[in-house]
C-alpha cells in the first residue's frame, strides 16, 4: 500500500485516545509507505476535539473540581449522559484511591490539608494530564509523519498560549473576511465536485443537517466558482474536503465511514477504518 490520507477522526484517535484506538490508528498508518496529514485535518482537529479538551482543562482550573467540571460538560451536551459522567467520576476516584492507602492519605492530610484529599488529587492529576496531552498533540503538527501537507494559505497557524493558567487556542478559524483557499482547489475538477454533492442527495442520511449544509456549500462553489467563501462555509465542507483532495491512489483512513462512504464511492476513492486495517 502506498499513500494513507489521514482524516481528522483518525488523527484524534492517534493523539488523544488511550483506549487502544491510538494503537490501531498507528498500526494502520504504518502499513502505508507514505502517510499524508493535510493541514485541513489539523485545523478541524484544533477546532473540534482539541478545543473540547482545552475547554475541559480550563473548566478544571476554574472550578477546581472534577465532578463540577463534568457536570458543566453534561449541561452543554445535547444529550446529557448522566451514566457516563458518574462512570468517569467513579473510575477516577477508584483508581486514585487504590494508589493511596487510607492511612497514607490521612498522614498526608495532616501535613498538606485539602490537597491530600482524593477529590483534589483527581482534579489536579486530570488537569496536568490534559495539559500534557493538549500541548503534546498540537506540537506534533509540525513533525508527525513529516508535518502537515496541503497547506491552507488562509489558515493562521499559531501555538497555543497560556494566560493565567488557562489555555487559549485562538484563533479558532481563518479571519472572518478571508476568501477560503479551498474554493479554487475544489473547482479544479468540476465533475468530481458535482458527483460528490449529488451523492449527498441520494443517500438515506441526506436529511442530516450536516449533509444539507455541506451540499449547499459544494453546490454554491460549483455554480458560482468566482464568489468567495468564508470560514463558516469552509467548516461545512468538512469531510468532503478529504474525498475531493485525496490523491487517486491513496486511501482515506477514517473512523467516520458513514459520512465519507457515499462521497468516496461516488468518485472511486478508497477508504478504510484503522481497526479493519490493523487486524
Amino acid at each position: 500500500m502506498t499513500d494513507a490520507y489521514i482524516e481528522t477522526t483518525t488523527l484524534t484517535d492517534l493523539l488523544l485516545k488511550k483506549d487502544g484506538s491510538e494503537k490501531a490508528a498507528a498500526r494502520a498508518i504504518n502499513l502505508f509507505s507514505r502517510p499524508i496529514i493535510p493541514q485541513f485535518a489539523w485545523k478541524e482537529f484544533k477546532r473540534g476535539p482539541l478545543a473540547h479538551f482545552i475547554w475541559f482543562h480550563n473548566k478544571l482550573i476554574v472550578t477546581k473540581d472534577f465532578g463540577r467540571a463534568l457536570s458543566a460538560l453534561q449541561r452543554l451536551s445535547r444529550t446529557p449522559q448522566r451514566y457516563m459522567v458518574s462512570t468517569a467520576i467513579q473510575a477516577a476516584h477508584t483508581g486514585f484511591t487504590s494508589r493511596f492507602a487510607n492511612k497514607d492519605l490521612e498522614a498526608l492530610q495532616k501535613i498538606h490539608g485539602e490537597k491530600a484529599t482524593i477529590g483534589v488529587i483527581v482534579t489536579d492529576a486530570m488537569q496536568l494530564e490534559l495539559k500534557r496531552v493538549i500541548f503534546q498533540a498540537w506540537k506534533k503538527r509540525r513533525t508527525l509523519h513529516g508535518g502537515w501537507a496541503n497547506k491552507l494559505d488562509c489558515y493562521p497557524d499559531f501555538e497555543l498560549v497560556e494566560k493565567t493558567s488557562l489555555i487559549n487556542l485562538a484563533p479558532r478559524d481563518c479571519p472572518s473576511n478571508s476568501d477560503c483557499c479551498l474554493r479554487s482547489r475544489l473547482i479544479r475538477d468540476k465533475a468530481k465536485l458535482t458527483a460528490v454533492w449529488r451523492s449527498l442527495s441520494s443517500s438515506p442520511a441526506s436529511a442530516k443537517q450536516e449533509w444539507v449544509n455541506r451540499k449547499k456549500v459544494l453546490r454554491d462553489i460549483e455554480k458560482r466558482p468566482h464568489s468567495s467563501i468564508g470560514p463558516k462555509e469552509c467548516r461545512r465542507i468538512g469531510d468532503a474536503y478529504f474525498v475531493l483532495t485525496c490523491p487517486p491512489d491513496a486511501t482515506i483512513i477514517t473512523t467516520n465511514i458513514v459520512d465519507i462512504q457515499p462521497m468516496a464511492d461516488a468518485i472511486g476513492i478508497a477508504y478504510q477504518r484503522p481497526v479493519n486495517l490493523s487486524e
Binding site: T12, K17, Q74, R78, R99
Partner: protein, 201 residues
C-alpha cells in the same frame, strides 16, 4: 556547591508565609539567574539573601522546615537516593531487593505529588513517577529506576522548568515503565469530550 538556573514568580514568593522579610524590589516576575551556595562566608550570604533580582539557594532553603520548597529539596533528595539504590540492585541482578526499594519509594513520590503547587512540572513528573512505581515486575522494566532518577534529578535542579521539558521527562518515564498507564477516569472523560453531541459549531 549548588548551582542552577531557576525562575520564580512573584506569586510563589508571596505564598511563602515564613518569608515576610523578603520583599522583591521589582513588582514584576523575578527572573533568577544563577544560584551558588558557597559555604565560605555563610553569614554574608544570608544577609544578601535578597538582592532584588537575585535569590540565593540559602534563601530557598531558609524558607523553613515546613515550607514547600525545602520539603521538595528534602523529598526529591530522598527519592534520588532510593532510586539510586534500586538501580544498583537492578545492575547486580538483585531484582527482589530492587522491587522492594521501588515499592518503598511510593510514599516518597506521594509526598512529592503533594508539593505540586510549586510548579506544574513537579506535579506532572511526580504523577508519572507515581504510576511508573506501580510496575508488576521490575525485571520487565530494567531502566525504570535510572530513568526516574534522571528525571527527578533534573526536576530538583530546575523545579520551575518549562512544561514542555516536564512533558519530555514524563514521556521518558512512561517509556521506561514499558506502558503508558492511563490515568483512571481518562478514557471515560475522553468518551464524553469526543461525543458528537457536545455542542460545537
Amino acid at each position: 556547591v549548588f548551582e542552577n538556573v531557576v525562575s520564580l514568580d512573584e506569586r510563589r514568593l508571596q505564598a511563602q508565609p515564613k518569608q515576610q522579610d523578603f520583599t522583591p524590589k521589582s513588582q514584576s516576575s523575578l527572573e533568577l539567574t544563577v544560584m551558588k551556595w558557597v559555604p565560605v562566608d555563610y553569614d554574608q550570604l544570608v544577609r544578601q539573601g535578597s538582592t532584588g533580582q537575585f535569590v540565593t539557594a540559602e534563601r530557598l532553603y531558609g524558607f523553613g522546615e515546613f515550607d514547600q520548597m525545602s520539603r521538595f529539596f528534602k523529598v526529591s533528595g530522598d527519592l534520588i537516593s532510593a532510586l539510586s539504590e534500586c538501580d544498583n540492585h537492578i545492575q547486580q541482578g538483585a531484582f527482589l531487593a530492587a522491587d522492594d526499594v521501588l515499592m518503598n519509594c511510593r510514599p516518597v513520590i506521594q509526598e512529592m505529588f503533594m508539593l505540586r503547587d510549586i510548579s506544574e512540572a513537579v506535579g506532572l513528573v511526580s504523577l508519572r513517577c507515581l504510576h511508573a512505581a506501580n510496575v508488576d515486575a521490575i525485571t520487565n522494566t530494567p531502566d525504570i529506576a535510572s530513568t526516574m532518577m534522571r528525571a527527578i534529578t533534573r526536576l530538583r535542579a530546575a523545579p520551575f522548568m518549562k512544561f514542555d521539558i516536564a512533558i519530555e521527562l514524563a514521556d521518558d518515564i512512561d517509556t521506561a515503565a514499558g506502558t503508558q498507564e492511563v490515568l483512571p477516569g481518562y478514557n471515560e472523560l475522553v468518551q464524553l469530550l469526543l461525543d458528537d453531541n457536545v455542542l460545537n459549531d
